[in-house]
C-alpha cells in the first residue's frame, strides 16, 4: 500500500511538473502611464516607455543588472565586450560582441549600426529630445565591423553616462530596421534585447515574447505584457488581487505601507539614486525677486515632513543633486553659516517682516494633477501657511502644465524629473543660463538663475571639463553651494524609483535598485 501511494505520488508529481513545463509562462507588469508614447529610443519619455524600451534594446556598456551605478569600474558590457577611454577623455573606443542578432532576422549588430544610431540622435531632423547629449561628438570612426571610436570636441569623462546609458536615448538601433520601418519604428521596434515586440493595443497593453537568439541566453519566461493602468486605485487593486505581477508605484503619502499591509508578499523595488524633486521660485515675479522672501520660504520647509509622509521611499537631500549622484553634497558638506535650508519658522517670519510682509502674503500658482506634483505642493502649501504665506493653487491637466511652465507662466514651479545620476546633468538642466525657460535653448531653468541673482555658468563648464576626479567633485560641490545661497529653488527629498512585485509569483533574478524602469526582465522567472 505504501508503495502504491508513493507511485501515485510520483505520477502526480510528474503530471504536475509536465503541466507546468507546458504552460506558457507570462509576466504582467502594470505601468502608470495612460498609453505608450513610443518604443523608439529616440522618443521614449517616462517610465511607461522606458520599461518596454529597456526590454527590447541594449546599450553598448551599461550599469550592472538592476542598478543605476555609472562608476567606470562597475560597468558591464552589453553590446560592447570591452571599451577604452583615452587619457584626455576626448575619445572612447568600443569593441563589439560578435554574433549579436537583431530581432526578426535583421541580421548581426555591427559598428555601422552604432555609427548610424549616433548620427540619427545628432540629426536635428530626427527631432529627438536627447539630441543635446550627443552634441559634443565630432566624429564616429568605424575601424572594422566590430570596432568603433567616438571623438568629442571637449574632454568629457562622463560622456558615456550622458549619452550612452540606458534611458537617455543611448540604446543602439538597427540601421536597416529604422530605414525600412520609418515612422512605424515608434510602435514596432527592432532591437537586440531579451524580449522582442509582438503587438501593441493602444491604451491597453504591449506584448513581447522571449527572443530565442538573445546574446545573453534566452529568457526563462515566454511572454511579457506591459499593461497601461493610469488610475492608482485600479493599478493597486490589480496588484493586490494578483492580476499583475509587478506595478509601478504611486506617489501618495502612506500608499506603499498600505499596499504592503494588504498584500504582505509584496517586494518593494526602490530604485536609487532617486529622481529629482524641486520647487523652483520664479525670480522674475514679485515678491520672489527678494532674496529675503526666498530665504523665508526655504526656512519654512521642513524636510522631515517628507520622511514622515513617504517613509523609506524618499531620502533627504543636502544640495542640488540627490544623494548617490556623482558630485552630490553630503550632510558634512552643508555650510554651517546662515544656510537657508534649515527649518526655522521663527527666522522665516522675521525675514518676511523684514521684507515688508509682517502678515505674510498670497501667491497664485498652478500645478498638474499628477500625484507626485500635487502631493508635494499640498505639503509645501501647508508648511508655508504656518508662516503666513498663502498659496492659491489651481490644479491643471498634465500636458498643459508642462507647456505653460515652459512658457514662463508660473510663479512657483514643482518639477519632478529623472536625470543621469550626475550633478553636472542636474546643474545643466536647471541652473545654466542657457536653460532658462523662454530662451530658444531652454531646458528647465524655471527660476531664471544665471540671468537673475547670480551666474555659475563658468564654474559649471570648468567642472564639466575637469579631468581630475577629486578636483571635479570639489568644484561640483562648490557650484551647488554658490547657487543655493541665492535660493532659486527648494530642493526636495529625492524619491526612489518606485516599483513593487509579487514575491510569490515573480523572481526578477537580481535586486532591483535601478531607477526609472531601467531594469530588464531578461533573468526573470515565474514562481
Amino acid at each position: 500500500m505504501r508503495r502504491f501511494r508513493s507511485i501515485c505520488g510520483a505520477m502526480l508529481a510528474m503530471l504536475l511538473s509536465a503541466g507546468a513545463a507546458d504552460a506558457q509562462s507570462t509576466i504582467k507588469v502594470g505601468v502608470s502611464q495612460r498609453d505608450l508614447g513610443a518604443m523608439d529610443p529616440a522618443f521614449g519619455i517616462g517610465n511607461g516607455d522606458e520599461f518596454p524600451i529597456r526590454q527590447v534594446f541594449n546599450v553598448l556598456v551599461g550599469p550592472k543588472d538592476g542598478t543605476t551605478n555609472l562608476k567606470l569600474e562597475d560597468l558591464q558590457g552589453e553590446l560592447a565586450e570591452r571599451w577604452e577611454m583615452a587619457p584626455d577623455a576626448r575619445s572612447f573606443t568600443f569593441h563589439l560582441r560578435k554574433g549579436v542578432q537583431w530581432h526578426r532576422g535583421y541580421g548581426e549588430v555591427t559598428a555601422a549600426d552604432v555609427a548610424f544610431t549616433i548620427q540619427r540622435m545628432q540629426d536635428p531632423k530626427t527631432g529627438t529630445a536627447y539630441g543635446s547629449n550627443f552634441r559634443d561628438i565630432t566624429a564616429v570612426e568605424v575601424t572594422d565591423p566590430y570596432t568603433v571610436t567616438i571623438r568629442l570636441a571637449t574632454p568629457n569623462p562622463f560622456f558615456y553616462a550622458f549619452a550612452l546609458a540606458p534611458r537617455f536615448g543611448g540604446y543602439i538601433q538597427s540601421k536597416k530596421a529604422v530605414e525600412e520601418l520609418g515612422d512605424k519604428f515608434r510602435h514596432n521596434p527592432v532591437g537586440t534585447g531579451a524580449f522582442e515586440f509582438v503587438s501593441y493595443e493602444p491604451k491597453q497593453k504591449v506584448t513581447f515574447r522571449a527572443f530565442d537568439k538573445y546574446w545573453d541566453g534566452k529568457p526563462k519566461v515566454d511572454t511579457l505584457e506591459v499593461l497601461f493602468l493610469p488610475e492608482t486605485a485600479a493599478r493597486t487593486l490589480a496588484f493586490v488581487k494578483g492580476d499583475v505581477d509587478m506595478i509601478e508605484g504611486a506617489t501618495v503619502p502612506g500608499w506603499q505601507a498600505s499596499v504592503v499591509k494588504q498584500k504582505p508578499d509584496t517586494v518593494l523595488d526602490l530604485g536609487r539614486p532617486g529622481a529629482i524633486w524641486g520647487f523652483h521660485l520664479n525670480m522674475t515675479r514679485k515678491p520672489l525677486d527678494d532674496i529675503r522672501v526666498r530665504k523665508a520660504i526655504a526656512h519654512a520647509i521642513d524636510q522631515r515632513v517628507w520622511t514622515a509622509a513617504f517613509g523609506d521611499f524618499v531620502s533627504p537631500i543636502y544640495g542640488i543633486a540627490p544623494q548617490g549622484y556623482y558630485g552630490a553634497m553630503t550632510k558634512d558638506d552643508v555650510p554651517k553659516d546662515d544656510w537657508p535650508f534649515v527649518y526655522d519658522p521663527a527666522k522665516s517670519k522675521a525675514l518676511l517682516a523684514e521684507a515688508g510682509f509682517p502678515n505674510g502674503f498670497q501667491i497664485e500658482l498652478f500645478v498638474t494633477e499628477r500625484e507626485e506634483y500635487k502631493s508635494n505642493v499640498l505639503i509645501i502649501q501647508e508648511l508655508l501657511r504656518k508662516v503666513g504665506i498663502q498659496i492659491n493653487m489651481r490644479v491643471v491637466e498634465h500636458t498643459s502644465y508642462h507647456n505653460d511652465i515652459r512658457r514662463d507662466l508660473n510663479s512657483m514651479i514643482m518639477y519632478s524629473s529623472g536625470q543621469p545620476p550626475l550633478t553636472q546633468a542636474v546643474l545643466n538642466a536647471f541652473y545654466k543660463s542657457s536653460a532658462i525657460v523662454g530662451k530658444p535653448t531652454r531646458n528647465m531653468n524655471f527660476s531664471h538663475y544665471g540671468d537673475i541673482a547670480g551666474n555659475s555658468d563658468a564654474l559649471m563648464e570648468q567642472a564639466n571639463q575637469e579631468v581630475d576626479d577629486l578636483k571635479r567633485i570639489a568644484m561640483l560641490k562648490q557650484v551647488q553651494i554658490e547657487i543655493l545661497r541665492h535660493v532659486p529653488a527648494i530642493p526636495l527629498p529625492s524619491p526612489a524609483g518606485s516599483w513593487m512585485h509579487n514575491g510569490k509569483t515573480l523572481e526578477i533574478g537580481f535586486p532591483v535598485k535601478a531607477y526609472m524602469g531601467t531594469f530588464t526582465m531578461a533573468k526573470a522567472s515565474r514562481l
Partner: protein
C-alpha cells in the same frame, strides 16, 4: 404648511435641509480640528476617539473636512440654481409671453443647451473657465438654465390665454409690469418645486465637477474632491471617500424629499 407637517417624511427632509445648512454655516466653529492641518504620523486611519471619521492620506481629520466641505457643496448647490433661475425664468417668461421670433430664438438656444447632458455641459463650461469655486457656480447655472427656460415658458404660455391677462393689457399695463404682477406669481409654484429638486441635482453636479478636479481647488475640501483624493487608496483607507459620499447622499436625499413634498402640495393634479 399643514400638509408639509402632516407628512412625516417631508418633516424629516425639511429638518435635514435646515440641519445641513446650519452645519455648513457654523462649520468653522463646530469642526473639531483644522481641516487643513496635516499630520503624517496619524495618516490613513479609521475612525477613532481622536478622529471620529478617521484621517486621510495627509493625516487630515475627515470629520472636519466633511463639515467644512459642506460649505462648498451646499453653497454651490444653492447659489447655482438660484442664479440659473434668475436668468432662466426671465428668459422663459419673455419667450412664452412675447412668442414669435423672440420665442423661437430663446427656445432654440435652450434646446441647443438641452441637447447636452447637464454634466457634460457643466464640465465644458468649467473647463473653459478654469477650475475654481466661481466657475463651478457658473457651470452648474448654465447647465440648469435651459430647464428653467422651458418650465417658465410653458407655464407662461398657458397663463397667457387667461382672460385676466387680456384684461390687464386692456387696462394699459406695460409688458414688464404684467410679467411681474401677474405672470411670475402664478407660475411660482412649479418653479419653487423645480428649484428645490434642482438644488439636489446641483449638489450632485458639484460633486461630479469636484471629482473631476473642476470645482473648489485644494486644499479647500469639498465632498467631491474628498472622494477624488480618497480614490487613490480606496481599499487601504476607504474612510474619506465613504463619509464624503454619505454626506452627498444625505444632502441629495433631503432636498429631494422636500422637493417631492412641495410638488405634491402645489401641484394637485399629480396624484401620488
Amino acid at each position: 404648511m399643514k400638509y408639509l407637517m402632516a407628512n412625516k417624511l417631508t418633516a424629516v427632509g425639511a429638518a435635514l435641509c435646515v440641519l445641513l445648512i446650519a452645519v455648513a454655516a457654523l462649520s468653522p466653529w463646530i469642526a473639531p480640528q483644522d481641516p487643513l492641518e496635516q499630520s503624517f504620523l496619524t495618516a490613513n486611519q479609521g475612525p477613532s476617539e481622536d478622529h471620529w471619521l478617521g484621517t486621510d492620506a495627509f493625516g487630515r481629520d475627515v470629520l472636519s473636512r466633511v463639515l467644512i466641505g459642506s460649505r462648498v457643496s451646499l453653497s454651490i448647490g444653492i447659489i447655482a440654481p438660484l442664479l440659473s433661475a434668475l436668468f432662466g425664468v426671465w428668459a422663459g417668461m419673455i419667450a412664452g409671453y412675447l412668442g414669435g421670433w423672440t420665442d423661437r430664438l430663446l427656445s432654440r438656444f435652450s434646446d441647443l443647451l438641452m441637447s447636452f447632458p447637464s454634466l457634460l455641459l457643466g464640465v465644458m463650461v468649467a473647463a473653459a473657465l478654469g477650475p475654481s469655486f466661481e466657475s463651478a457656480v457658473i457651470a452648474i447655472a448654465v447647465a440648469l438654465f435651459p430647464r428653467f427656460v422651458r418650465l417658465s415658458r410653458s407655464a407662461t404660455q398657458v397663463l397667457k390665454r387667461e382672460p385676466f391677462i387680456d384684461a390687464s393689457i386692456a387696462s394699459g399695463r406695460g409688458t414688464v409690469s404684467i410679467m411681474l404682477k401677474h405672470v411670475l406669481p402664478n407660475i411660482a409654484g412649479p418653479l419653487v418645486v423645480a428649484l428645490s429638486l434642482w438644488i439636489a441635482t446641483a449638489i450632485r453636479l458639484e460633486a461630479a465637477l469636484s471629482f473631476l478636479g473642476l470645482g473648489a481647488q485644494p486644499p479647500t475640501p469639498s465632498w467631491g474632491n474628498m472622494i477624488r483624493d480618497g480614490m487613490t487608496d480606496l481599499v487601504g483607507d476607504p474612510w474619506p471617500a465613504a463619509f464624503a459620499g454619505a454626506a452627498i447622499t444625505l444632502a441629495v436625499l433631503a432636498f429631494n424629499m422636500v422637493g417631492d413634498a412641495l410638488r405634491d402640495m402645489l401641484d394637485p393634479e399629480i396624484d401620488t
